[in-house]
Amino acid sequence: MNLRILGATTARILRQLRHDRRTVALLVVVPVLLLALIYYMFEDVPGIFDHIGLVMLGVFPFTIMFLITSIAMLRERTTGTLERLLTTPMGKLDLLFAYGLAFGVAAAVQASIASSVAYWLLGLDTRGGVGLVILIAIANAVLGVALGLLCSAFSRTEFQAVQFMPIVVVPQILLCGLFVPRGQMAGWLEAISNVLPMTYAVEALQEVGTRASATGTLWRDLAIIIGCVIVTLTLAAATLRRRTA
């Protein structure tokens, strides 16, 4: 890894994002709109928004960053910029970490805005602090980036890349404990749930919801997410070949 190249590449990815105003607007507005939707859906049922809204603050960054990253990385492949980059002194990890950093920064902005709206406009109430929610959201976004980088290796077109979303994202949302508490799932479903990283993000968020200060479980969950990020990025580096047929 080379800090100069890593920094330059992170800045380049953010600059690309800045030129794409519509995507920036979508990044900021979509989670807020969806949160508002959930708020009004459960307006008459007290306590539900505090549960679902909170979990969604972690789910949205994951989903959106997964999608954006898999398309962005696929573009690097299809437009030939990836091949060109691999003929320069850039290392594979420079590129992968730059994506993680750049979209991590974007996720921080996104999570801060979504959380602000959730807490101060929609009255989200948690026992723990908003800072922890944002931290978990960023970790989850970076996980989405890492999985997106990995999955883009297995798709040749944007059509195929988008198809990975239902495969990678939806099962995690279904089994993370949001719809059915994990303890009430059939054993084999819980076993699957145990190996899906989103489960731990949701558990961490629920800890923030019910505990006033950060718990050991929360830090363990965050460590698991970060571990998954590192494993996924390593796998992504392995799929990134300098030489191709």
Binding site: R4, T81, E83, T87, T88, R243
Partner: protein, 240 residues
């Protein structure tokens, strides 16, 4: 002097098709070498093997005495892909400066100079996505020139450019070679061939000529390179 690029018995297969059949050639330092041949003849594959991004079945490629694709080479080689490989959602200047930042001791001033060198100074602030095809190709070329590489591999750099600009680019390639840069340029237009020091004619993955343009003309007894190419192909068919 040791050649800049040495290709020995290079065999490349893509899918089940053999694209390069035990190809050997060497490219002298500080020269402009033209790689000519029809579309599909293996030009791009050979260039990709030289920059070290092509999976090869057998044979060796060495560049400046090192195996193609080895890490120290990547700071010394510039590669222009056939399709412009620049970021459409960045400006010309941002693209050039980004590629400059990947190399040690290459500054934004160098990047701006490269943009001016390809005649895009006036369009430097425009998004690459808003440029014409020819301009986009030049933006891509600027990014290949930015680090002043010792070896420059250019895959069809002049396609779609206006004649004045093409002439200008060729002068620039010649000037770089005069300063010691080794330039390998592919083209499928024969009229550019006469501007090279040396020509590699390639057809169906085999080298059918490797000589100076004048020597090829003299050897085939033809007046222009198009005719020489035809002559060589026919001669080869007779042999096989």
């Amino acid at each position: 002097m040791e050649p800049a690029i040495e290709v020995r018995d290079l065999v490349v297969e893509r899918g089940r098709r053999r694209v390069l059949h035990s190809l050997s050639c060497s490219i002298p330092r500080g020269s402009v070498t033209g790689l000519l041949g029809p579309s599909g003849s293996g030009k791009t594959t050979l260039m990709r093997a030289i920059v070290g991004v092509q999976v090869v079945k057998s044979g060796t490629v060495t560049v400046l005495g090192m195996l193609a694709g080895s890490a120290p080479l990547r700071g010394m080689i510039g590669y222009l892909t056939q399709a412009p490989s620049v970021y459409a959602d960045l400006t010309v200047r941002e693209n050039a400066r980004y590629f400059a930042s990947l190399y040690k001791d290459v500054t934004s001033a160098d990047a701006d100079a490269a943009v001016a060198d390809v005649g895009l100074a006036d369009a430097a602030g425009q998004l690459v996505g808003d440029l014409s095809g020819g301009q986009r190709a030049r933006a891509s070329l600027a990014c290949a020139l930015v680090a002043r590489p010792t070896v420059l591999i250019l895959d069809e750099p002049t396609v779609g450019q206006d004649p004045v600009l093409r002439d200008d680019l060729w002068r620039r390639f010649r000037a770089m070679a005069a300063q010691g840069t080794t330039v390998l340029v592919s083209s499928h237009v024969m009229d550019e061939a006469s501007r090279c020091d040396r020509l590699l004619l390639i057809r169906e993955g085999r080298l059918i000529a490797d000589d100076a343009p004048d020597a090829i003309l003299a050897g085939t007894g033809t007046a222009d390179l198009e005719a020489a190419f035809l002559h060589l192909i026919r001669a080869e068919q007779v042999v096989s």
